[in-house]
Symmetry: C2
Subunit: 489 residues, 2 copies
C-alpha cells in the first residue's frame, strides 16, 4: 500500500483493487486484535499517561495536518490506536458494566457501518426499522406487557433512555409543558433511590425540574428503598425511578412496593434496568425484577449484561402514543405524509434526535445467532461467576465484603490494616488501598477492575461480571493479582 493515498481508493477510477487491498489489510489488523483479545498471555492494556501519548510514541503522532498521509501510514495509525488502547473484550477486563467482544455483535457492527444509514425513516433504513420494531415488541413481551403492546426506541445510552422516561412522564401528566414550558406546571417532584444512576439527576437538571426537586430516597443496608419515604408534602409528585441493578452494587429496588405507591399517588413508575434488565432473559433470575410489568417505562441496555457491543440501549414505554406525542414536531422535509408506503414506519419523530445511529442490527443478529435461550445461558453464567467470587472470598481475612448483589463489592485489607481498630485512621488508610492497587494493576496491565467510594464507605472494589470470556480461573487471577499488588501496602 506504500504508494497509495485515499484519493486512489473508490470512487476513484481503478480504485477497486487498492480499496479491496486496503480493507483487507485493515481486517488483518482487526482480526489479529480479536485473536489477541482472547489470549490470556496478552495484556489488557499498555498504559501511558496523556502527556506521553501526546508527545508522540515511536511514529504515532496524533496531530492532524494539512497534507494527506499515505495509506501505509494510515495502517500504522490503526495498529497504534489499538496498541495503546484497552482490550475491553479481554477475559480479565472487569472494569465496566459493558465488557466482552461478541463476535456476532462485532460482525453486526461492521455491517452497520458499511450500510451507513440512519434510523429516522423507513425510506432509507427499511430493514433496520422493522428489526427495531420487532425487537422492541419482543422486549416488551419479556417485560410482561400484554401482547407486547406499547412503544419504545433505541437511544444513545441509558442516560438518554432515562431522560426519555422523565420527558414522557411529564408529557403524560402535563402535556402543556411542551408548548408553554415548565412554568405552566406546578412544582413537580421526582424520586429516585440514593444508589440510582446519576443520569436521573442529569435529566432533572437538563429538563428544567432542577436537581433539588429530585428527591433521593434513603436505602437500607441491603440497598432497598424505604418506600414510606415516598409520601410527600406540598408539591406534585410525578415520577419515581426504581433501579433494577444499581450501578455500584447491582441491587434491585422492590418494584411491587414502589408500584403500589405510584398507583396511590398517580405517579409514573420508571424502572431503570440499564444494568439489570438483562436478568429478564433468565428464568432463574428474573424474579429480581418482579413487578416490572407494572412500570410505565423501562430502560434496558443490551450493551451491558447481555454483551451486545456499545451502544445498544432501549427505552420502552407501556402506553402507546405518549412517546411520539411528547417529541413529535412533524418536520415536513423528513416525514412527508404523502409517501407511497405506510408512513407509520417512519419512527424518527418519536426521538429527540433527528438522525439516529443504527444500534439494532448487532443486537438482532446476536439474538438470531444465540436464540433467546443463548442470552439466558449467558446471564446465568455471569451470575454464577459472581456468586463463585462472593463465596470464594467470603471467609478470607484479607477481604471485607459488602452485601451480596449482582456485583461483588469488597475491600481488600492489606496485612497492615487488617488488625487496626475501626476509626478514622483505618478509614483513611483503607481509602487509599484500592486506588493504589488499581494504579499498579493498570501499570502492569494484567487486569482491570473498578473502585469507588459510596456514601460513607471509603473506596472499595466493584467487581462486575458481564464478560462472556471470563471463567473461574480469571476470577482467581483477579483476586490473586489484588493480593500480589496490595499485600505490601
Amino acid at each position: 500500500m506504500l504508494q497509495f493515498f485515499t484519493l486512489d481508493l473508490l470512487p476513484a477510477k481503478n480504485g477497486e483493487e487498492p480499496t479491496m487491498q486496503f480493507l483487507l489489510e485493515v481486517v488483518d489488523i482487526l482480526t489479529n486484535y480479536v485473536r489477541k483479545t482472547f489470549d490470556r498471555s496478552t495484556k489488557v492494556l499498555d498504559f501511558h499517561h496523556p502527556h506521553q501519548l501526546l508527545e508522540g510514541m515511536e511514529g504515532f503522532n496524533l496531530e492532524l495536518s494539512d497534507q494527506p498521509e499515505s495509506l501505509e501510514q494510515i495502517l500504522v495509525d490503526c495498529r497504534d490506536t489499538l496498541k495503546y488502547g484497552v482490550r475491553t473484550g479481554h477475559p480479565r477486563f472487569f472494569n465496566q458494566l459493558s465488557t466482552g467482544l461478541d463476535i456476532i455483535g462485532l460482525a453486526g457492527e461492521w455491517l452497520t457501518s458499511t450500510a451507513n444509514t440512519n434510523m429516522f425513516t423507513y425510506e432509507i433504513a427499511p430493514v433496520f426499522v422493522l428489526m427495531e420494531q420487532l425487537t422492541l415488541k419482543k422486549m416488551r413481551e419479556i417485560i410482561g406487557w400484554p401482547d407486547g403492546e406499547g412503544d419504545g426506541i433505541f437511544s444513545p445510552g441509558g442516560a438518554i433512555s432515562n431522560m426519555y422516561s422523565v420527558m414522557t412522564a411529564r408529557y403524560k401528566f402535563f402535556p402543556e409543558v411542551k408548548t408553554k414550558g415548565m412554568t405552566a406546571a406546578p412544582r413537580l417532584v421526582l424520586f429516585t433511590s440514593e444508589h440510582s444512576h446519576y443520569s436521573i439527576k442529569k435529566a432533572s437538571a437538563a429538563l428544567g425540574f432542577g436537581t433539588e426537586n429530585l428527591i433521593l430516597l434513603s436505602t437500607d443496608e441491603r440497598t432497598h428503598i424505604h418506600s414510606d419515604g415516598l409520601c410527600l408534602q406540598g408539591c406534585v409528585p410525578m415520577f419515581v425511578n426504581a433501579t433494577a441493578g444499581s450501578t455500584v452494587y447491582g441491587a434491585f429496588d422492590p418494584i411491587h412496593e414502589i408500584a403500589d405507591i405510584c398507583e396511590k399517588y398517580n405517579m409514573w413508575l420508571h424502572v431503570d434496568g440499564a444494568w439489570g434488565g438483562g436478568l429478564l432473559m433468565s428464568r432463574k433470575h428474573r424474579h429480581k425484577l418482579r413487578g416490572v410489568e407494572r412500570a410505565n417505562s423501562v430502560t434496558w441496555n443490551p450493551h451491558k449484561m447481555m454483551g451486545v457491543p456499545l451502544q445498544c440501549s432501549a427505552i420502552l414505554v407501556r402506553e402507546r402514543g405518549v412517546l411520539s406525542g411528547c417529541n413529535s414536531m412533524c418536520a415536513g422535509y423528513l416525514f412527508q405524509p404523502d409517501k407511497q408506503y405506510d408512513v407509520s414506519y417512519d419512527t424518527g419523530d418519536k426521538a429527540i434526535q433527528c438522525g439516529r445511529h443504527v444500534d439494532i442490527f448487532k443486537f438482532w443478529l446476536m439474538w438470531k445467532a444465540k436464540g433467546t435461550i443463548g442470552f439466558e445461558h449467558h446471564i446465568d453464567k455471569c451470575l454464577d461467576l459472581s456468586h463463585y467470587l462472593y463465596t470464594k472470598i467470603r471467609d478470607q481475612s484479607s477481604v471485607e465484603l459488602l452485601p451480596q448483589h449482582t456485583n461483588v463489592c469488597f475491600w481488600y485489607l492489606p496485612p497492615g490494616i487488617r488488625d487496626m481498630p475501626d476509626g478514622q485512621e483505618r478509614r483513611d488508610r483503607l481509602h487509599k488501598v484500592a486506588p493504589k492497587i488499581k494504579a499498579l494493576m493498570m501499570e502492569s496491565g494484567t487486569t482491570m477492575v473498578g473502585y469507588q467510594p459510596q456514601g460513607d464507605k471509603v473506596n472499595f472494589f466493584r467487581m462486575v461480571i458481564s464478560n462472556p470470556a471470563a471463567t473461574r480461573s480469571d476470577i482467581d487471577f483477579l483476586t490473586d493479582e489484588i493480593e500480589r499488588l496490595g499485600h505490601d501496602l
Copy 2:
C-alpha cells in the same frame, strides 16, 4: 460454516479458526457490497413495502426465536439485510444530507467497533479521548476562536448538539436552573429563523422552555433573517440560533448582523452549522459563515458535508467551563479523583450521556488520510456540482427553481402543468408531482432525491450534494430520470 454456531466462536476452546473463517466470510459480503455501491449498473435500492418484508422474503425471516441459528444462516441474514436496504453510498443517492461511503471512514468504524469502548474516561479510551481533544481544538481554530481555546464534545447527532447549546446558554445566564428548575428563572425566550432545523424546537420543548417561547423569525425570499424581528417585549431574550446551511435550502443566516443584536441584548449566539459547518474547510466558501467566530457555540456535523460516516457531530463552545458546569454531577463510581493519571482527561461528566460511543476515530483517520486540504477539495467539488446543476436547469422550461443556495431546490413541471395559470388548481396538481416521481423512482430503484413542502410552497425537490462519488453525469442522470418518470404525470 454450515456446521458451526455462535457457541463455537471465540471465546470457545478451539474457537479461533471458526472465528477467523466467519469474520472473513462477513468481510467478503461487506466488500462485495462496497464494490457494488460504487457500481452505477447496480440499483440504489430494491424497494419493498413494510408488509412484504414482514411477511418474509425467500428465507429472510425477521422474527426472533428461542433457538440459535447456524452461522450459515447468519451469513444469509447479513446478505439479505444489505440486499433489502438502501445503498446510501451509491453515486446516485442524493436523498439525505449524509450520503457517500468513505473507505477510510469505513475502516475507522470497523476499528471502532472492534475496540468496543466508551468515551467517558481516559482510563478505557486513552487514545480516543486524546484524538477527540485534538480534533475539537483544530475545529475551534478553524472557527476562528483564539488559539482554538474553548470546549466541546462529540454528541449523537446535530439535534443533541443543538440541545447542548441551549442548555449551556441557560447555565451561563441562569446557573440556578440546574438546581432549582425553570421556575427559578424569568420567562426565557429563544429565537431562531423559520427555516432552522426542528431540533431547536425539540430542545425548547424538552428542556422546559416550551415551544411557544421559541420565536421563529421570518425570513425573506433569500431566506435571510430579518434581524430587527429580534427586538423584544416583556421577557428575557436569552438565545439566538443562526443557521449556517438550512436543512431544505442550504441557506446561511447573516451571522454578523445577528451577533450585533446578541451583543446588544446580551444573548447567547449559537450557530447551527450541522449542514454548512463543513464550508469552514474551504477558503473559497467559508465566507458564507462570516462572523462565526463571534458565536458562543457552534454545531458542526462532519457526518454531513464532510462525508464522515454516521454518526459524527460536534458541539463547540467558546467559553471554557460552561459545558462541564452545566452537566457535571461528579459520579464517584466513574470519575474518581484519586486516579494515577491527570483526570482532567476524563471528559464524560461534560456530557448528558454517561456511556458515549466513539465517534471520533473515523473522523480523525479521515483527516489524517485526506489532510485539511482533502476536505477542502471535497467541499469545493460538492459546491461546484451543485452550481453545475443550478445553471444546467436554470433555463429549462420543465423546471422552476427556488433561490440558489448550497442545495438546489426546484419544481419539476410536467407538460400538462407547465402552461397552467397560477392558482389553486395548479398548486394542487404540482403538489402531487414530486411524491409521485419519488415513488416511481424508489420502485425503479435508480436514484433517490428528497422532496418536501415548505411554508406556502407546495412539494418541491431538494437536491443535496455531499456524496464524493457523484459526478456531473450522475446529476444529468437524476434530471433525466425525473423527466422520464414525470413527463406523463
